[in-house]
Symmetry: C2
Subunit: 281 residues, 2 copies
Protein backbone atom coordinates (compact mmCIF):
# COMPACT_ATOMS: atom_id res chain seq x y z
CA UNK A 1 0.00 0.00 0.00
CA UNK A 2 1.52 3.24 -1.13
CA UNK A 3 1.37 6.35 1.01
CA UNK A 4 1.57 9.83 -0.49
CA UNK A 5 3.02 12.60 1.69
CA UNK A 6 0.93 15.78 1.60
CA UNK A 7 3.00 17.61 4.20
CA UNK A 8 5.29 17.02 7.15
CA UNK A 9 6.33 19.40 9.93
CA UNK A 10 8.63 19.00 12.88
CA UNK A 11 6.58 19.22 16.08
CA UNK A 12 7.69 18.62 19.68
CA UNK A 13 10.78 16.85 18.42
CA UNK A 14 8.80 14.43 16.25
CA UNK A 15 7.13 14.64 12.86
CA UNK A 16 3.51 15.62 12.26
CA UNK A 17 2.52 14.52 8.77
CA UNK A 18 -0.52 14.43 6.55
CA UNK A 19 -0.73 11.62 4.02
CA UNK A 20 -3.13 10.05 1.56
CA UNK A 21 -3.54 6.65 -0.05
CA UNK A 22 -5.83 4.83 -2.47
CA UNK A 23 -8.10 2.89 -0.14
CA UNK A 24 -9.22 -0.52 -1.36
CA UNK A 25 -11.98 -0.48 1.28
CA UNK A 26 -13.67 2.81 0.37
CA UNK A 27 -12.54 2.94 -3.24
CA UNK A 28 -11.42 6.54 -2.71
CA UNK A 29 -8.27 8.45 -1.89
CA UNK A 30 -8.27 8.65 1.92
CA UNK A 31 -6.34 11.19 3.98
CA UNK A 32 -4.88 10.70 7.43
CA UNK A 33 -2.64 12.54 9.84
CA UNK A 34 0.14 10.78 11.76
CA UNK A 35 2.36 12.08 14.55
CA UNK A 36 5.50 10.07 15.21
CA UNK A 37 7.47 11.25 18.25
CA UNK A 38 11.24 11.35 18.29
CA UNK A 39 11.44 7.98 20.08
CA UNK A 40 10.09 6.39 16.88
CA UNK A 41 13.42 6.96 15.14
CA UNK A 42 15.06 4.25 17.21
CA UNK A 43 12.32 1.85 18.30
CA UNK A 44 8.80 0.62 17.67
CA UNK A 45 6.13 2.48 19.66
CA UNK A 46 2.56 1.97 20.82
CA UNK A 47 -0.02 3.90 18.82
CA UNK A 48 -3.53 5.30 19.16
CA UNK A 49 -6.07 5.93 16.42
CA UNK A 50 -8.23 9.02 17.06
CA UNK A 51 -11.62 9.14 15.31
CA UNK A 52 -13.10 12.59 14.77
CA UNK A 53 -16.63 13.88 14.94
CA UNK A 54 -19.23 15.17 12.50
CA UNK A 55 -18.02 17.60 9.81
CA UNK A 56 -14.36 17.02 10.69
CA UNK A 57 -11.52 15.90 8.48
CA UNK A 58 -8.18 14.50 9.65
CA UNK A 59 -7.10 18.10 10.23
CA UNK A 60 -9.30 19.35 13.09
CA UNK A 61 -7.84 17.08 15.76
CA UNK A 62 -4.35 17.48 14.36
CA UNK A 63 -4.24 21.26 14.67
CA UNK A 64 -6.63 21.81 17.59
CA UNK A 65 -6.18 19.10 20.22
CA UNK A 66 -2.57 19.74 21.21
CA UNK A 67 -2.03 15.96 21.34
CA UNK A 68 1.54 16.09 20.06
CA UNK A 69 3.00 17.42 23.28
CA UNK A 70 1.62 14.51 25.30
CA UNK A 71 2.39 11.95 22.59
CA UNK A 72 6.00 13.18 22.57
CA UNK A 73 6.20 12.84 26.35
CA UNK A 74 4.58 9.39 26.35
CA UNK A 75 6.27 7.99 23.24
CA UNK A 76 2.96 7.36 21.47
CA UNK A 77 2.21 7.46 17.76
CA UNK A 78 -1.15 9.17 17.10
CA UNK A 79 -3.13 8.59 13.91
CA UNK A 80 -6.20 10.56 12.82
CA UNK A 81 -8.07 9.35 9.71
CA UNK A 82 -10.68 11.35 7.82
CA UNK A 83 -14.31 10.82 8.88
CA UNK A 84 -15.64 9.50 5.57
CA UNK A 85 -14.80 8.86 1.94
CA UNK A 86 -14.84 12.04 -0.12
CA UNK A 87 -14.72 13.19 -3.70
CA UNK A 88 -16.93 14.23 -6.61
CA UNK A 89 -17.89 10.60 -7.37
CA UNK A 90 -18.88 9.86 -3.77
CA UNK A 91 -22.49 10.05 -2.56
CA UNK A 92 -23.23 13.04 -0.36
CA UNK A 93 -26.00 14.94 1.38
CA UNK A 94 -26.26 18.69 2.00
CA UNK A 95 -26.72 18.13 5.76
CA UNK A 96 -23.64 18.16 7.98
CA UNK A 97 -24.73 14.94 9.69
CA UNK A 98 -25.04 12.64 6.67
CA UNK A 99 -22.71 11.74 3.82
CA UNK A 100 -19.22 13.18 3.38
CA UNK A 101 -17.81 14.17 6.76
CA UNK A 102 -20.34 11.95 8.54
CA UNK A 103 -19.38 8.34 7.86
CA UNK A 104 -20.41 7.16 11.36
CA UNK A 105 -17.83 4.35 11.19
CA UNK A 106 -20.27 1.85 9.70
CA UNK A 107 -20.19 -0.31 6.55
CA UNK A 108 -23.21 1.01 4.67
CA UNK A 109 -25.53 -1.52 3.06
CA UNK A 110 -28.00 0.86 1.43
CA UNK A 111 -27.91 2.77 -1.85
CA UNK A 112 -26.31 5.21 -2.63
CA UNK A 113 -23.94 4.80 0.33
CA UNK A 114 -22.90 1.15 0.17
CA UNK A 115 -20.28 1.59 -2.55
CA UNK A 116 -17.86 3.91 -0.68
CA UNK A 117 -19.11 4.34 2.91
CA UNK A 118 -17.23 1.47 4.52
CA UNK A 119 -15.53 3.30 7.38
CA UNK A 120 -15.96 0.41 9.83
CA UNK A 121 -13.84 -1.94 7.75
CA UNK A 122 -11.48 0.88 6.86
CA UNK A 123 -10.66 1.61 10.50
CA UNK A 124 -10.82 -2.02 11.65
CA UNK A 125 -8.64 -3.51 8.92
CA UNK A 126 -7.10 -1.36 6.23
CA UNK A 127 -5.93 1.52 8.43
CA UNK A 128 -4.11 -0.64 11.03
CA UNK A 129 -2.37 -2.55 8.23
CA UNK A 130 -1.49 0.64 6.39
CA UNK A 131 0.09 2.38 9.37
CA UNK A 132 1.92 -0.77 10.48
CA UNK A 133 3.48 -0.87 7.03
CA UNK A 134 4.71 2.72 7.04
CA UNK A 135 5.37 3.76 10.65
CA UNK A 136 7.29 2.21 13.56
CA UNK A 137 4.31 0.66 15.36
CA UNK A 138 4.85 -2.00 17.99
CA UNK A 139 2.75 -5.01 17.02
CA UNK A 140 -0.29 -5.51 19.22
CA UNK A 141 0.04 -2.13 20.92
CA UNK A 142 -2.72 -0.20 19.15
CA UNK A 143 -5.47 1.73 20.94
CA UNK A 144 -8.54 3.53 19.68
CA UNK A 145 -10.27 6.67 20.86
CA UNK A 146 -12.54 9.34 19.46
CA UNK A 147 -14.74 12.38 20.02
CA UNK A 148 -18.51 12.61 19.53
CA UNK A 149 -19.30 10.57 16.37
CA UNK A 150 -15.70 9.36 16.68
CA UNK A 151 -16.29 8.40 20.31
CA UNK A 152 -19.14 6.21 19.06
CA UNK A 153 -16.77 4.72 16.50
CA UNK A 154 -14.09 4.06 19.11
CA UNK A 155 -16.50 2.31 21.51
CA UNK A 156 -17.99 0.13 18.76
CA UNK A 157 -14.65 -0.78 17.19
CA UNK A 158 -13.13 -1.35 20.61
CA UNK A 159 -15.94 -3.69 21.70
CA UNK A 160 -15.94 -5.68 18.43
CA UNK A 161 -12.27 -5.71 17.38
CA UNK A 162 -10.55 -6.74 20.56
CA UNK A 163 -7.76 -8.55 18.73
CA UNK A 164 -6.89 -5.29 16.97
CA UNK A 165 -7.44 -2.63 19.63
CA UNK A 166 -5.82 -3.11 23.03
CA UNK A 167 -7.21 0.05 24.68
CA UNK A 168 -10.34 2.17 24.24
CA UNK A 169 -11.50 5.62 25.29
CA UNK A 170 -14.02 8.21 24.20
CA UNK A 171 -14.66 11.94 24.62
CA UNK A 172 -18.32 13.00 24.63
CA UNK A 173 -19.30 9.96 22.55
CA UNK A 174 -22.61 9.32 20.80
CA UNK A 175 -22.93 6.38 23.13
CA UNK A 176 -26.32 5.02 22.22
CA UNK A 177 -26.79 6.04 18.58
CA UNK A 178 -29.85 3.90 17.87
CA UNK A 179 -31.84 6.03 20.31
CA UNK A 180 -30.80 9.58 19.32
CA UNK A 181 -31.57 11.78 16.29
CA UNK A 182 -28.04 11.81 14.82
CA UNK A 183 -27.75 8.04 14.98
CA UNK A 184 -31.29 7.25 13.85
CA UNK A 185 -30.84 9.47 10.79
CA UNK A 186 -27.45 8.04 9.86
CA UNK A 187 -28.27 4.39 10.56
CA UNK A 188 -31.58 4.63 8.67
CA UNK A 189 -29.75 5.96 5.64
CA UNK A 190 -26.65 3.77 5.76
CA UNK A 191 -28.12 0.54 7.17
CA UNK A 192 -31.82 0.69 6.33
CA UNK A 193 -34.92 0.67 8.55
CA UNK A 194 -34.40 -2.70 10.27
CA UNK A 195 -33.08 -1.72 13.69
CA UNK A 196 -31.64 -5.18 14.30
CA UNK A 197 -28.97 -4.27 11.77
CA UNK A 198 -28.08 -1.21 13.79
CA UNK A 199 -27.09 -3.17 16.92
CA UNK A 200 -23.56 -4.09 15.77
CA UNK A 201 -22.92 -0.34 15.47
CA UNK A 202 -24.40 0.75 18.80
CA UNK A 203 -22.02 0.56 21.78
CA UNK A 204 -24.85 0.24 24.30
CA UNK A 205 -26.52 -2.55 22.28
CA UNK A 206 -23.18 -4.34 21.91
CA UNK A 207 -22.72 -4.44 25.68
CA UNK A 208 -26.35 -5.54 26.11
CA UNK A 209 -25.70 -8.28 23.56
CA UNK A 210 -22.75 -9.60 25.51
CA UNK A 211 -19.63 -7.84 24.26
CA UNK A 212 -17.05 -7.20 27.00
CA UNK A 213 -13.53 -5.90 27.25
CA UNK A 214 -11.19 -6.97 30.02
CA UNK A 215 -9.64 -3.50 30.20
CA UNK A 216 -11.19 -0.33 31.54
CA UNK A 217 -12.98 1.93 29.04
CA UNK A 218 -12.41 5.60 29.81
CA UNK A 219 -15.04 8.23 28.95
CA UNK A 220 -14.92 11.98 29.62
CA UNK A 221 -17.98 14.17 29.23
CA UNK A 222 -18.54 17.90 29.65
CA UNK A 223 -21.66 18.81 31.60
CA UNK A 224 -22.22 22.04 29.63
CA UNK A 225 -22.22 20.05 26.37
CA UNK A 226 -25.35 21.14 24.50
CA UNK A 227 -25.62 17.70 22.85
CA UNK A 228 -25.37 15.73 26.09
CA UNK A 229 -29.04 14.98 26.73
CA UNK A 230 -30.38 14.68 23.20
CA UNK A 231 -27.54 13.15 21.16
CA UNK A 232 -24.81 11.64 23.36
CA UNK A 233 -26.40 9.96 26.41
CA UNK A 234 -23.24 8.35 27.78
CA UNK A 235 -25.13 7.52 31.00
CA UNK A 236 -27.23 4.99 29.05
CA UNK A 237 -24.02 3.27 27.95
CA UNK A 238 -22.57 3.46 31.47
CA UNK A 239 -25.73 1.92 32.93
CA UNK A 240 -25.59 -0.94 30.41
CA UNK A 241 -21.94 -1.49 31.34
CA UNK A 242 -22.81 -1.51 35.04
CA UNK A 243 -25.48 -4.15 34.47
CA UNK A 244 -23.13 -6.23 32.34
CA UNK A 245 -20.02 -5.93 34.49
CA UNK A 246 -18.03 -3.95 31.91
CA UNK A 247 -15.56 -1.65 33.65
CA UNK A 248 -16.05 2.00 32.62
CA UNK A 249 -14.44 5.08 34.14
CA UNK A 250 -16.92 7.88 33.45
CA UNK A 251 -15.53 11.34 34.23
CA UNK A 252 -17.96 14.25 34.12
CA UNK A 253 -16.63 17.80 34.03
CA UNK A 254 -18.66 20.79 35.14
CA UNK A 255 -18.69 23.71 32.73
CA UNK A 256 -17.11 22.04 29.69
CA UNK A 257 -18.85 22.12 26.30
CA UNK A 258 -18.61 19.86 23.23
CA UNK A 259 -15.77 21.61 21.40
CA UNK A 260 -12.04 21.26 20.97
CA UNK A 261 -11.21 23.31 24.08
CA UNK A 262 -12.77 20.38 25.96
CA UNK A 263 -10.87 17.85 23.85
CA UNK A 264 -7.59 19.73 24.36
CA UNK A 265 -8.13 19.82 28.12
CA UNK A 266 -8.78 16.06 28.32
CA UNK A 267 -6.48 14.67 25.63
CA UNK A 268 -3.50 14.28 27.95
CA UNK A 269 -5.44 12.05 30.37
CA UNK A 270 -6.73 9.96 27.46
CA UNK A 271 -3.32 9.46 25.89
CA UNK A 272 -1.97 8.45 29.31
CA UNK A 273 -4.81 5.93 29.66
CA UNK A 274 -3.75 4.35 26.36
CA UNK A 275 -0.01 4.55 27.10
CA UNK A 276 -0.51 2.71 30.38
CA UNK A 277 -2.62 -0.08 28.88
CA UNK A 278 -0.43 -0.39 25.78
CA UNK A 279 2.77 -0.57 27.85
CA UNK A 280 1.66 -4.05 28.93
CA UNK A 281 1.46 -5.28 25.32
CA UNK B 1 -15.42 50.53 26.89
CA UNK B 2 -18.00 47.85 26.33
CA UNK B 3 -17.01 44.29 25.49
CA UNK B 4 -19.36 41.95 23.63
CA UNK B 5 -19.01 38.22 24.32
CA UNK B 6 -19.00 36.15 21.12
CA UNK B 7 -18.30 32.85 22.86
CA UNK B 8 -16.76 31.37 25.98
CA UNK B 9 -15.62 27.82 26.68
CA UNK B 10 -14.12 26.18 29.72
CA UNK B 11 -10.55 25.14 28.93
CA UNK B 12 -7.89 23.73 31.28
CA UNK B 13 -9.92 24.93 34.26
CA UNK B 14 -10.08 28.51 32.98
CA UNK B 15 -12.19 30.33 30.40
CA UNK B 16 -11.27 30.79 26.75
CA UNK B 17 -13.38 33.57 25.30
CA UNK B 18 -13.79 35.48 22.08
CA UNK B 19 -15.01 39.06 22.36
CA UNK B 20 -15.48 42.19 20.27
CA UNK B 21 -15.67 45.89 20.93
CA UNK B 22 -16.11 49.16 19.06
CA UNK B 23 -12.54 50.43 18.77
CA UNK B 24 -12.07 54.16 18.97
CA UNK B 25 -8.58 53.73 17.51
CA UNK B 26 -9.45 51.83 14.33
CA UNK B 27 -13.05 53.03 14.04
CA UNK B 28 -14.15 49.42 13.55
CA UNK B 29 -15.48 46.52 15.58
CA UNK B 30 -12.35 44.66 16.72
CA UNK B 31 -12.29 41.04 17.85
CA UNK B 32 -9.95 39.50 20.40
CA UNK B 33 -9.50 36.22 22.22
CA UNK B 34 -8.72 36.07 25.94
CA UNK B 35 -7.80 33.09 28.11
CA UNK B 36 -8.17 33.61 31.84
CA UNK B 37 -6.90 30.69 33.92
CA UNK B 38 -8.65 29.50 37.05
CA UNK B 39 -6.31 31.50 39.29
CA UNK B 40 -7.90 34.67 37.86
CA UNK B 41 -11.09 34.03 39.83
CA UNK B 42 -9.38 34.94 43.08
CA UNK B 43 -6.48 37.27 42.22
CA UNK B 44 -4.99 39.59 39.61
CA UNK B 45 -2.61 37.87 37.19
CA UNK B 46 0.19 38.80 34.82
CA UNK B 47 -0.81 38.79 31.15
CA UNK B 48 0.74 38.45 27.70
CA UNK B 49 -0.54 39.86 24.43
CA UNK B 50 0.14 37.55 21.44
CA UNK B 51 0.25 39.21 18.01
CA UNK B 52 -0.47 36.93 15.04
CA UNK B 53 0.98 36.79 11.56
CA UNK B 54 -0.20 37.51 8.05
CA UNK B 55 -3.69 36.32 7.11
CA UNK B 56 -4.53 35.35 10.69
CA UNK B 57 -7.40 36.50 12.86
CA UNK B 58 -7.59 36.21 16.63
CA UNK B 59 -8.66 32.60 16.12
CA UNK B 60 -5.58 30.88 14.66
CA UNK B 61 -3.41 31.19 17.75
CA UNK B 62 -6.34 30.50 20.04
CA UNK B 63 -7.19 27.12 18.54
CA UNK B 64 -3.78 26.01 17.23
CA UNK B 65 -1.04 27.02 19.65
CA UNK B 66 -2.08 25.02 22.70
CA UNK B 67 -1.17 28.00 24.88
CA UNK B 68 -3.96 27.45 27.38
CA UNK B 69 -2.34 24.45 29.05
CA UNK B 70 0.82 26.42 29.83
CA UNK B 71 -1.07 29.57 30.75
CA UNK B 72 -3.15 27.51 33.21
CA UNK B 73 0.02 26.07 34.76
CA UNK B 74 1.75 29.45 34.95
CA UNK B 75 -1.24 31.56 35.98
CA UNK B 76 -0.97 33.82 32.94
CA UNK B 77 -3.75 35.60 31.08
CA UNK B 78 -3.19 35.39 27.31
CA UNK B 79 -4.75 37.88 24.88
CA UNK B 80 -4.78 37.58 21.08
CA UNK B 81 -6.15 40.52 19.07
CA UNK B 82 -7.06 40.42 15.39
CA UNK B 83 -4.32 41.42 12.94
CA UNK B 84 -6.08 44.41 11.35
CA UNK B 85 -9.32 46.33 11.18
CA UNK B 86 -11.92 44.57 9.04
CA UNK B 87 -15.29 45.16 7.47
CA UNK B 88 -16.97 46.21 4.26
CA UNK B 89 -16.12 49.88 4.81
CA UNK B 90 -12.44 49.19 5.49
CA UNK B 91 -9.76 49.51 2.77
CA UNK B 92 -8.43 46.19 1.52
CA UNK B 93 -6.20 44.58 -1.08
CA UNK B 94 -6.63 41.20 -2.75
CA UNK B 95 -3.11 40.14 -1.70
CA UNK B 96 -2.72 38.23 1.58
CA UNK B 97 0.12 40.52 2.65
CA UNK B 98 -1.60 43.90 2.46
CA UNK B 99 -4.83 45.29 3.88
CA UNK B 100 -7.24 43.29 6.01
CA UNK B 101 -5.37 40.53 7.84
CA UNK B 102 -2.07 42.32 7.29
CA UNK B 103 -2.06 45.42 9.47
CA UNK B 104 1.67 45.13 10.28
CA UNK B 105 1.10 46.87 13.64
CA UNK B 106 1.71 50.37 12.23
CA UNK B 107 -0.33 53.58 12.27
CA UNK B 108 -0.84 54.15 8.55
CA UNK B 109 -0.38 57.66 7.24
CA UNK B 110 -1.26 57.07 3.58
CA UNK B 111 -4.56 56.89 1.74
CA UNK B 112 -6.68 54.72 1.73
CA UNK B 113 -5.20 53.08 4.83
CA UNK B 114 -4.80 55.95 7.30
CA UNK B 115 -8.42 56.06 8.42
CA UNK B 116 -8.67 52.57 9.98
CA UNK B 117 -5.20 50.95 9.91
CA UNK B 118 -3.93 52.12 13.30
CA UNK B 119 -2.87 48.81 14.80
CA UNK B 120 0.21 50.28 16.53
CA UNK B 121 -1.88 52.61 18.68
CA UNK B 122 -4.53 49.94 19.10
CA UNK B 123 -2.09 47.47 20.63
CA UNK B 124 -0.02 50.07 22.50
CA UNK B 125 -2.91 51.94 24.10
CA UNK B 126 -6.49 50.89 23.55
CA UNK B 127 -6.02 47.13 23.95
CA UNK B 128 -4.11 47.28 27.27
CA UNK B 129 -6.71 49.67 28.70
CA UNK B 130 -9.56 47.51 27.40
CA UNK B 131 -8.31 44.27 28.90
CA UNK B 132 -7.36 45.91 32.19
CA UNK B 133 -10.96 47.13 32.43
CA UNK B 134 -12.53 43.72 31.85
CA UNK B 135 -10.15 41.02 33.10
CA UNK B 136 -8.18 40.49 36.33
CA UNK B 137 -4.82 41.86 35.12
CA UNK B 138 -2.12 42.77 37.60
CA UNK B 139 -1.09 46.37 36.90
CA UNK B 140 2.33 46.66 35.28
CA UNK B 141 2.63 42.93 34.59
CA UNK B 142 1.90 42.88 30.85
CA UNK B 143 4.16 41.23 28.25
CA UNK B 144 4.04 41.13 24.48
CA UNK B 145 4.95 38.43 22.00
CA UNK B 146 4.10 37.43 18.46
CA UNK B 147 4.74 35.23 15.45
CA UNK B 148 6.07 36.32 12.05
CA UNK B 149 4.37 39.69 11.30
CA UNK B 150 3.28 39.57 14.93
CA UNK B 151 6.86 38.92 16.04
CA UNK B 152 7.78 42.14 14.24
CA UNK B 153 4.95 43.89 16.05
CA UNK B 154 6.04 42.52 19.43
CA UNK B 155 9.67 43.60 18.98
CA UNK B 156 8.70 47.10 17.82
CA UNK B 157 6.06 47.64 20.50
CA UNK B 158 8.36 46.17 23.14
CA UNK B 159 11.25 48.45 22.20
CA UNK B 160 9.10 51.59 22.04
CA UNK B 161 6.48 51.05 24.76
CA UNK B 162 8.62 50.02 27.70
CA UNK B 163 6.29 51.58 30.25
CA UNK B 164 3.50 49.35 28.95
CA UNK B 165 5.24 46.06 28.15
CA UNK B 166 7.42 44.49 30.80
CA UNK B 167 8.56 41.46 28.75
CA UNK B 168 9.09 40.75 25.05
CA UNK B 169 9.53 37.68 22.88
CA UNK B 170 9.09 36.69 19.25
CA UNK B 171 8.68 33.52 17.18
CA UNK B 172 10.12 33.65 13.66
CA UNK B 173 9.72 37.46 13.54
CA UNK B 174 9.99 39.71 10.51
CA UNK B 175 12.92 41.25 12.32
CA UNK B 176 14.14 43.78 9.80
CA UNK B 177 11.03 44.65 7.78
CA UNK B 178 12.51 47.65 5.95
CA UNK B 179 14.87 45.30 4.13
CA UNK B 180 12.55 42.47 3.08
CA UNK B 181 9.76 42.18 0.48
CA UNK B 182 6.86 41.82 2.94
CA UNK B 183 7.94 44.87 4.93
CA UNK B 184 8.87 47.03 1.95
CA UNK B 185 5.48 46.39 0.35
CA UNK B 186 3.51 47.07 3.53
CA UNK B 187 5.51 50.08 4.71
CA UNK B 188 5.43 51.67 1.23
CA UNK B 189 1.65 51.36 1.17
CA UNK B 190 0.90 52.29 4.79
CA UNK B 191 3.70 54.83 5.47
CA UNK B 192 4.69 56.11 2.04
CA UNK B 193 8.02 56.02 0.19
CA UNK B 194 10.17 57.96 2.68
CA UNK B 195 12.15 55.22 4.44
CA UNK B 196 12.95 57.47 7.40
CA UNK B 197 9.30 57.10 8.38
CA UNK B 198 9.71 53.33 8.42
CA UNK B 199 12.40 53.31 11.11
CA UNK B 200 10.04 53.59 14.11
CA UNK B 201 8.41 50.38 12.86
CA UNK B 202 11.59 48.39 12.22
CA UNK B 203 13.01 46.54 15.24
CA UNK B 204 16.54 46.49 13.82
CA UNK B 205 16.43 50.23 13.04
CA UNK B 206 15.05 50.98 16.50
CA UNK B 207 18.01 49.23 18.15
CA UNK B 208 20.39 50.99 15.76
CA UNK B 209 18.72 54.28 16.71
CA UNK B 210 19.33 53.69 20.39
CA UNK B 211 16.29 51.88 21.80
CA UNK B 212 17.19 49.39 24.54
CA UNK B 213 15.38 47.17 26.97
CA UNK B 214 16.90 46.16 30.30
CA UNK B 215 15.33 42.69 30.09
CA UNK B 216 16.29 39.84 27.80
CA UNK B 217 14.42 39.56 24.49
CA UNK B 218 13.74 35.91 23.57
CA UNK B 219 13.52 34.83 19.91
CA UNK B 220 12.97 31.32 18.55
CA UNK B 221 13.47 30.51 14.89
CA UNK B 222 13.03 27.31 12.89
CA UNK B 223 15.86 26.55 10.50
CA UNK B 224 13.58 24.85 7.96
CA UNK B 225 11.41 28.00 7.80
CA UNK B 226 11.03 28.81 4.11
CA UNK B 227 10.76 32.54 4.89
CA UNK B 228 13.91 32.70 7.02
CA UNK B 229 16.39 34.09 4.51
CA UNK B 230 14.15 36.30 2.39
CA UNK B 231 11.53 37.70 4.79
CA UNK B 232 12.49 37.23 8.44
CA UNK B 233 16.26 37.71 8.85
CA UNK B 234 16.38 37.58 12.66
CA UNK B 235 20.21 37.39 12.48
CA UNK B 236 20.29 40.99 11.24
CA UNK B 237 18.33 42.04 14.32
CA UNK B 238 20.53 39.89 16.58
CA UNK B 239 23.68 41.44 15.11
CA UNK B 240 22.32 44.95 15.69
CA UNK B 241 21.53 43.99 19.29
CA UNK B 242 25.05 42.57 19.78
CA UNK B 243 26.58 45.83 18.54
CA UNK B 244 24.28 47.88 20.74
CA UNK B 245 24.51 45.79 23.90
CA UNK B 246 20.86 44.68 23.84
CA UNK B 247 20.49 41.25 25.42
CA UNK B 248 18.84 38.76 23.05
CA UNK B 249 18.46 35.01 23.50
CA UNK B 250 18.27 33.63 19.96
CA UNK B 251 17.29 29.98 19.82
CA UNK B 252 17.52 28.24 16.45
CA UNK B 253 15.80 24.90 15.93
CA UNK B 254 16.84 22.43 13.26
CA UNK B 255 14.02 21.07 11.13
CA UNK B 256 11.20 23.39 12.24
CA UNK B 257 9.18 25.32 9.66
CA UNK B 258 7.13 28.54 9.90
CA UNK B 259 3.78 27.07 10.88
CA UNK B 260 1.76 26.52 14.02
CA UNK B 261 3.37 23.14 14.79
CA UNK B 262 6.51 25.24 15.42
CA UNK B 263 4.55 27.78 17.46
CA UNK B 264 2.91 25.02 19.51
CA UNK B 265 6.29 23.43 20.22
CA UNK B 266 7.82 26.70 21.44
CA UNK B 267 4.88 28.44 23.13
CA UNK B 268 5.54 26.88 26.52
CA UNK B 269 9.09 28.24 26.67
CA UNK B 270 7.86 31.67 25.61
CA UNK B 271 5.08 31.84 28.17
CA UNK B 272 7.58 30.77 30.85
CA UNK B 273 9.92 33.57 29.71
CA UNK B 274 7.12 36.07 30.24
CA UNK B 275 5.92 34.53 33.52
CA UNK B 276 9.42 34.75 34.98
CA UNK B 277 9.95 38.38 33.99
CA UNK B 278 6.42 39.41 34.96
CA UNK B 279 6.69 37.73 38.37
CA UNK B 280 9.09 40.52 39.35
CA UNK B 281 6.50 43.22 38.56
Amino acid sequence: MELRTIGESRCFGGVQGTYSHASTTTGTEMRLSVFVPEQGRSRALPAVIYLSGLSCTEENFTVKAGAQRYAAELGLIVIAPDTSPRGPGVADDPAYDLGQGAGFYVDATESPWARHFRMYSYVAEELPALIAGHFPLRAGALGIMGHSMGGHGALVLGLREQATFASVSALAPIATPSQVPWGIKAFSAYLGPDERRWRPYDATALVEDGRRRADLIRIDQGEADKFLGEQLRPEVFAAACARAGQAVAMHRHAGYDHGYFFVATMIGDHLRHHAELLARR
